[in-house]
């Protein structure tokens, strides 16, 4: 591995927390990475300003899928619920941090989710995000906690690989090194997704990656995202059964809106590794 190791450069691993079911996956992934790098785990709970705003609109009602009831909003109840939710997330964070033996911190922000996220990305070394929840999550809030199929749990396929996007943007090897560290901790494969314009460039990037990962004992799989499209990334992530996807913050594949599309479509947490600033 390069002398500029991930351990020396990643000190803060943040995770965005809200009430969605995917949070647990994101929290776990962030905690594992922080533990592998001996970094601090930072929980960030963002109170969505939209939720505050919609309480002011008199005709808006909340549907509660579990009880199938409707109720108008009011600002006091919403704030109380958000505080309660934040407390729950903080407790979860602290529990996981204790289990992994790492330090943690927790902060609450209020604002537009995406804007706040983008701001956080610039402040921490790694930001862990999870999908905002697909439509089926609406139904998952209904009380349907029964198992239909008779599959034994042993037969359920476990997620395995750690996928990482590696391109020719600046300092993308930071994400690669973080992925290597995480894969080692999880004792799983590394799936390196190379974003390159040509075969020659792909080969060059692969060689570079191989150099970076030369001391890596985990199996490494290299594949090229041929079209350099977000859809290719999603497909590659799903097909490799990835339990986590690491992407450099300046990778062109997930800039802007594409990040949110990516989060919606991949079912695993996405770790955005901040571009390393010189001298940091």
């Amino acid at each position: 591995m390069s002398e500029l190791t991930a351990e020396t450069i990643i000190r803060r691993v943040a995770v965005a927390l809200d009430a969605s079911a995917q949070n647990s996956q994101a929290l776990q992934a962030a905690a594992e990475l922080a533990a592998s790098l001996q970094a601090e785990l930072e929980g960030i709970f963002i109170e969505d300003i939209n939720l505050i705003r919609l309480t002011e609109l008199p005709f808006i009602r909340e549907i509660r899928p579990a009880s199938m009831t409707e109720e108008p909003f009011n600002i006091q109840r919403m704030e109380q619920e958000l505080r309660s939710l934040a407390r729950q997330q903080q407790q979860k964070l602290e529990l996981v941090a204790r289990e992994k033996g790492i330090s943690c911190s927790f902060s609450i922000r209020r604002g537009h989710i995406r804007a706040e996220m983008m701001e956080v990305v610039t402040e921490v070394d790694v930001l862990t995000l999870c999908g905002p929840g697909r439509v089926s999550e609406i139904f998952s809030r209904q009380p349907a906690a029964f198992t239909l199929r008779a599959d034994t749990t042993a037969r359920q396929q476990a997620r395995s690989a750690v996928s990482v996007v590696f391109g020719n943007a600046r300092n993308e090897k930071r994400a690669l090194m973080a992925a290597a560290s995480l894969a080692k901790r999880l004792d799983t494969n590394i799936n390196v997704l190379i974003t390159a314009g040509s075969d020659a460039e792909t080969d060059e990037l692969q060689r570079e990656a191989e150099t970076i990962l030369e001391s890596q004992t985990q199996p490494v799989n290299y594949s090229r995202l041929i079209g350099n499209q977000l859809s290719d990334l999603v497909l590659a992530t799903i097909s490799s059964n990835s339990q986590v996807l690491l992407v450099n913050s300046n990778n062109t594949l997930i800039t802007g809106e594409q990040l949110w599309h990516c989060l919606e479509q991949v079912s695993c947490p996405v770790l955005i590794v901040r571009e390393q600033i010189a001298g940091n």
């Binding site: 005709f59 549907i63 899928p65 439509v135």
Partner: protein, 805 residues
């Protein structure tokens, strides 16, 4: 007049070894038959043979007589010729689990079915997971789930699409979802909303409302969609499970094709496995968690639901069962449902049903000790109920007495066909016959064991073979013929009859074992007469502490017994004390005092309630004798008091009535009685001496007293002539008689005894009806007439003075 000074040969019926044709028991063949119990054997054969209700047996006789051995021997003989009865199993009742079903199977099949079902459970734990892990199942179930997901997604996607077209967004809230108008990816603020034209505001409200309704509708449809998917999965699950279980159960169906009940059970098992296939997805032996068990209501795991409780399993080569239950408690007879403690409660299932003795003996024979049954709470009631209803209904004591009403198992009753044999003593038999009307209905066959058998040459030879059989069975040293003869003689002594032999097998066996012990102690290779005698003496010595104390106190003069000189109104009577299995004779001084009175013989023992009814009867007879013998033409004007001196416990029996009469006659006549003689025998109103019990012990008791004081040839005992045949006296007594130092007289009448005791003629009435002068009877008559005259004069004088007054 029939006074007989008995010869030594009359005191002891010796067994002549010259009549034996063997030197030792080694020469004797084993005895195949029981001897001396012909009546009992006949009754057992009858009772065991008759196959009708109520013909159960009660073997009555004293303990140790060999009831169990004899009954068991004949019952086993009969049982061997019968086919083994059915096996009985309990199986799960899938419709009513608290009422397990009983399953009757040919002998030996119960165990096999139990093994087969265990194997089936094991196989199901492999086969069922295999089908549910198959590619086919995964694909088919995924299709159903995918279909459900798509339906849901489609419903929401349509709403989302419609919402986006109207700038409305679906938003997750902490506790639900909502739809809100957005501008630039942000929910419109209230200020922005207010600034909108009214028409637009109204449109937004309407659109939101409409979409909200659509969303609600979609959410409402979700449970139905899931229900349909669940049903599809359920059908698929059943199909797969049925396939897995069907193949395995078919194999068993073929194996047990001729057992309808088994086939029905297998069908039920198949249906139930399909219903509970998930139990087989966990590893064999792993129980569901407490929470899971509570949620699913599962009372039993798959490991137990399908098991077979092979409760009664027979050996296919054996005959009918013969069961002896040593501890016939209610539960040991009827069976029990055991419980295990689990999480602070007691739980049970059909696999914890345990058989009782009735189950084990069903189709055969059950032998029980009557006393043990009767002292066990509810055992007798439970036993009778089972016999009457001809079925074994397993109920706990709590259920039976209606004291407990908690839900427990109610196993299906099992039909009962058993021959019950109770062993007990006669007292219990007669008490049950008297007190329990159902007893006679249920135990129609009395097997009465005799404690004695005739003694003659043939029976002695048979008895010798019996001794030989017991010696060989117990692996004792061989007994020589003299030892055998001594055992036979002792056997006669055990029943206090020179012409009988004891059939008390335990007593006989004890003697043989102890003789064997002493022979080994004496380094004898064969048991001889001395060893047997040593065993008898040692056994007596171990038990005769009280006898020694009594003899000691007589010798020391604490207990007053005269053996010299003569005394008026005082006779040595003889009584027997029984302490456990040991009895001994004790002389007692009987005294009488007389005076004028109103024809009354006062029994002091009776007055102070120390005399039993038979003793009192004996005393009352004396008045009859005195009146009829001496005072036919005048009233008896006598008041006499009789007492057993120095007795401090109850006196029972009439064996001293003759002695009491002698004391009375002596007191009336004033003629002294020889104290060197002791007397036993009861008397009737005609003055005839009647036999009594314990004659040997009584003679030996007085002999011991005299022997210690020194035998001078004057001492002896007077016994009833009819007791002569009972004499089996100790060797030292016989030797003393042989040497003329001691005598045993047998008499037939009171007059015989009077002559022996007084040395004077009793006197018989002559043709004129008078006793000879100077005879005892004449003196007694004269005295009584004198009492009568004086009484008459006294009464006349009293009446005259009364008239004057």
């Amino acid at each position: 007049m029939a006074i007989n000074n008995l010869k030594t040969s009359e005191l002891y019926n010796r067994c002549d070894i010259g009549e034996f044709d063997f030197k030792s028991t080694a020469d004797l063949e084993s005895l195949p038959e029981v001897i001396g119990q012909e009546r009992a054997v006949e009754a057992v054969r009858f009772g065991v043979g008759i196959q009708r209700d109520g013909y159960n047996l009660y073997a009555l006789g004293p303990r140790g007589i060999g009831k169990y051995s004899l009954v068991r021997r004949y019952v086993e003989e009969k049982a061997e010729s019968k086919n083994p009865p059915s096996d009985w199993c309990y199986i799960n009742n899938f419709k009513q689990p608290h009422k397990p079903n009983a399953l009757e199977l040919p002998s030996g099949m119960g165990h096999q079915l139990s093994i087969d079902m265990e194997q089936l459970i094991e196989d199901l734990h492999v086969a069922i997971p295999a089908v549910f892990e198959s590619e086919e199942y995964r694909t088919r179930s995924q299709v159903i789930e995918q279909e459900l997901t798509e339906h849901k997604e489609m419903a929401i996607a349509e709403i989302q699409k419609a919402a986006e077209a109207k700038n409305i967004s679906l938003i997750h809230t902490p506790t639900g979802i909502t739809l809100a108008p957005i501008r630039n990816d942000k929910v419109i603020s209230i200020e922005e909303f207010k600034n909108l034209p009214e028409k637009e505001r109204k449109q937004i409200e309407e659109d939101t409302e409409l979409l909200q309704e659509r969303l609600l509708k979609a959410l409402h449809q979700a449970p139905q969609m899931e229900k349909e998917a669940r049903e599809k999965i359920s059908v698929l699950n059943r199909e797969m499970a049925a396939y897995a279980v069907g193949n395995l159960v078919d194999t068993l169906r073929k194996k047990y094709h001729d057992q309808t009940a088994v086939i029905e059970h297998l069908n039920d098992v198949e249906k139930d496995v399909v219903e509970h296939f998930r139990d087989f997805l966990r590893p064999l032996g792993e129980k569901p968690s407490f929470l899971e068990a509570q949620l699913t209501g599962a009372e039993q795991t798959s490991d137990t639901r399908y098991r077979v409780n092979a409760m009664v399993v027979r050996d296919t080569d054996g005959g009918a069962p013969v069961v002896y239950e040593d501890n016939p408690s209610y539960l040991n007879l009827i069976g029990r449902v055991e419980h295990r403690a689990h999480l602070g409660t007691l739980e049970t299932d059909f696999t914890m049903i345990r058989s009782g003795a009735l189950h084990q003996a069903n189709g055969g024979y059950l032998i029980l000790d009557a006393l043990k049954v009767l002292i066990q709470p509810f055992a007798w009631e439970g036993l009778k109920r089972a016999l009457q209803s001809r079925e074994i209904r397993m109920e706990s004591l709590g259920q039976m007495t209606s004291l407990v009403s908690t839900v427990s198992l109610e196993p299906q009753p099992i039909p009962l066909q058993v021959k019950l044999i109770l062993l007990g003593d006669r007292r219990i038999y007669y008490l049950l016959s008297y007190l329990d009307p159902e007893f006679s209905e249920l135990f129609k066959v009395a097997v009465d064991f005799d404690e004695r058998m005739d003694r003659n040459l043939d029976s002695q030879k048979l008895y010798a073979r019996l001794i030989g059989t017991m010696v060989h069975d117990e692996k004792l040293l061989e007994f020589d013929s003299a030892a055998v003869a001594r055992v036979i003689e002792h056997s006669a002594r055990m029943v206090s009859d020179a012409e009988k032999l004891s059939t008390h097998m335990r007593g006989l066996m004890d003697l043989l074992r102890e003789a064997d012990h002493w022979a080994r102690e004496n380094s004898h290779e064969i048991v001889d007469r001395v060893d047997v005698q040593q065993a008898i003496d040692a056994a007596d010595h171990r038990a005769d502490r009280i006898r020694d104390r009594v003899q000691e106190e007589i010798e020391r003069g604490t207990l007053l017994i005269d053996t010299l000189d003569t005394k008026v109104g005082q006779v040595n009577g003889l009584s027997v004390l029984r302490l456990g299995n040991f009895s001994f004779g004790q002389p007692s001084r009987i005294t009488a005092r007389v005076r004028i009175g109103g024809s009354k013989v006062i029994d002091i023992e009776r007055e102070v309630e120390l005399g039993g009814p038979i003793h009192s009867k004996g005393v009352m007879i004396l008045s009859g004798y005195l009146g009829s013998h001496y005072m036919l033409d005048r009233p008896l004007s006598l008041t006499a008091s009789l007492v057993f001196e120095q007795t401090y416990s109850e006196v029972e029996g009439d064996s001293a009535s003759s002695a009491e009469l002698y004391a009375l006659i002596s007191a009336i006549s004033g003629v002294p009685v020889k104290q060197s003689l002791a007397v036993t025998g009861s008397v009737n109103q005609h003055g005839e001496i009647q036999p009594i019990g314990g004659v040997n012990e009584k003679i030996e008791g007085f002999f011991d007293v005299c022997s210690k004081r020194g035998l001078d040839g004057t001492q002896g005992v007077i016994i009833p002539a009819s007791n002569t045949k009972h004499l089996m006296l100790r060797d030292d007594v016989c030797q003393a008689v042989e040497q003329g130092k001691f005598a045993v007289y047998s008499i037939e009448t009171i007059d015989d005894g009077i002559e022996l005791l007084t040395g004077m003629a009793a006197g018989q009435r002559d043709e004129s009806g008078k006793f000879p002068e100077d005879s005892i009877n004449a003196r007694v008559e004269a005295k009584l007439r004198d009492f009568s005259s004086k009484m008459h004069a006294y009464v006349t004088r009293s009446e005259s003075s009364g008239e004057k007054e």
